[in-house]
């Protein structure tokens, strides 16, 4: 089942899978159930993700497997896997630093530009195109980029 879920992309950041994003919290054996967790309370992709997981499970012959949403403990960016972080970077999104959830929500440390690697960057907007991202800009290559908010 995990293999099936590893092929389900996040609908808003299709470069990584729902497993790499850390929103597949667990797979229970009896009764067989996939536990999902939302990134943000209002994330509009939550329902789409559930449908995509349902579709993938049905397609792979796991039609009897249930899906349940769990809130506690709340999702944190620390649950994004190392492979997921690399894929985010390759996709042009600066991944959140490890342990970010333990510190402030603000991204006080400058993010490395995912295009040229420069550390000379600044925050343009605290919020970006989805609830989980902020908008940053590189001062060397001048490209704007998304940064995963520490959460």
């Amino acid at each position: 089942m995990r293999d099936v879920l590893c092929d389900v992309p996040d609908p808003e950041i299709p470069a990584i899978s729902v497993v790499e994003l850390g929103i597949v919290r667990a797979i229970e054996r009896s009764p067989p159930t996939v536990l999902l967790t939302p990134t943000y309370s209002g994330c509009p992709a939550t329902l789409v993700i559930e449908q995509a997981v349902r579709h993938a499970l049905d397609h792979a012959g796991f039609g009897e497997v249930g899906i349940r949403t769990v809130l506690s403990p709340p999702w944190t960016t620390d649950w994004i896997s190392d492979a997921g972080r690399e894929k985010l970077k390759a996709y042009g999104i600066a991944p959140p630093p490890r342990g970010a959830s333990m510190s402030s929500l603000r991204n006080r440390e400058a993010a490395a530009c995912p295009r040229c690697g420069s550390a000379a960057t600044h925050e343009v907007s605290r919020f970006g195109s989805t609830p989980c991202k902020a908008l940053w800009q590189c001062e060397d290559c001048l490209e704007p980029f998304d940064r995963f908010k520490c959460h």
Partner: protein, 256 residues
């Protein structure tokens, strides 16, 4: 009526009140969509609204589950009348200009962040889970709003004048946030809810520090205006609900 029924009714009312606060402010913020001073601010306000509507959905869904009366979160949001809404008066206040919106956000997010923080210890495990999720979001909201209060307050003569007006406008609705009513008392007793009065001191501290940084004075004392949490609303809520509810009411059970 036996005690268990009374407690359950208070529990439902408590969750509806918390859910209405989030939902109504989320709806208010969505009015800024496409009208904010810059695209970045537009995104920020829409994102705050999205978080709040998400929190409202979770809280109202939980209320409906406890109520067990055939209503769901959508029924509570879209098929109740003005007098049945239990939100505080602060969140239904009109947006005014950007400064007034950010003043309201600063007060409410600061309060809500303290409230959710305390509710993570609720004896209602679902409410505690919702609060633990939401408190991470409201910390971000409170930080953003605080920075705008400082930036406008310690900005140009015009931005400063507007922020002073914004803080003044909203200040009379603050006391209501910290009053424990009969529902609160019942919820404190069962440890589902928390003592709102205890949030006042940390709230005042954050407000005092932030306004000092913005080189602003605390607003003058007004006679507090209360009643929203008992369903006695200002004229503004009805207009907001007319916009928010008209599609589901005109086309019940419509799907897309």
């Amino acid at each position: 009526m036996d005690n268990a029924v009374i407690v359950r009714e208070a529990h439902v009312a408590y969750l509806i009140g918390l859910g209405d606060d989030a939902l109504i402010l989320g709806q208010r913020l969505s009015e800024w969509c496409g009208h904010a001073p810059s695209v970045e601010v537009d995104l920020s306000l829409a994102n705050l609204g999205l978080d709040l509507i998400g929190q409202g959905t979770l809280l109202l869904a939980h209320a409906a589950e406890i109520e067990n009366g055939g209503r769901d979160a959508d029924a509570l949001a879209f098929h109740r009348d003005e007098l049945d809404f239990l939100n505080c008066l602060l969140v239904e206040q009109p947006n005014g200009d950007f400064a007034r919106t950010m003043a309201r956000q600063f007060f409410f997010s600061t309060f809500q962040n303290l409230l959710y923080g305390a509710l993570t210890a609720s004896s209602d495990s679902e409410l505690a889970a919702i609060a633990a999720k939401a408190v991470k979001e409201t910390e971000y909201h409170a930080g953003l709003a605080r920075e705008w209060v400082i930036r406008l307050g310690d900005g140009t003569e015009e931005s400063r004048r507007r922020m002073i007006d914004g803080l003044e406008w909203n200040w009379r609705f603050i006391d209501e946030l910290f009053v424990n009513d009969a529902v609160d008392e019942a919820m404190i007793e069962t440890r589902i809810g928390i003592d709102r009065a205890k949030l006042r001191e940390p709230f005042d501290l954050i407000v005092a520090q932030s306004l000092a940084e913005a080189r602003l004075d605390l607003p003058a004392q007004h006679r507090p205006v209360t009643g929203g949490r008992q369903g006695k609303h200002s004229e503004h809520l009805g207009h907001l609900l007319a916009v928010m509810q008209h599609i589901p009411r005109s086309f019940p059970d419509a799907r897309w």
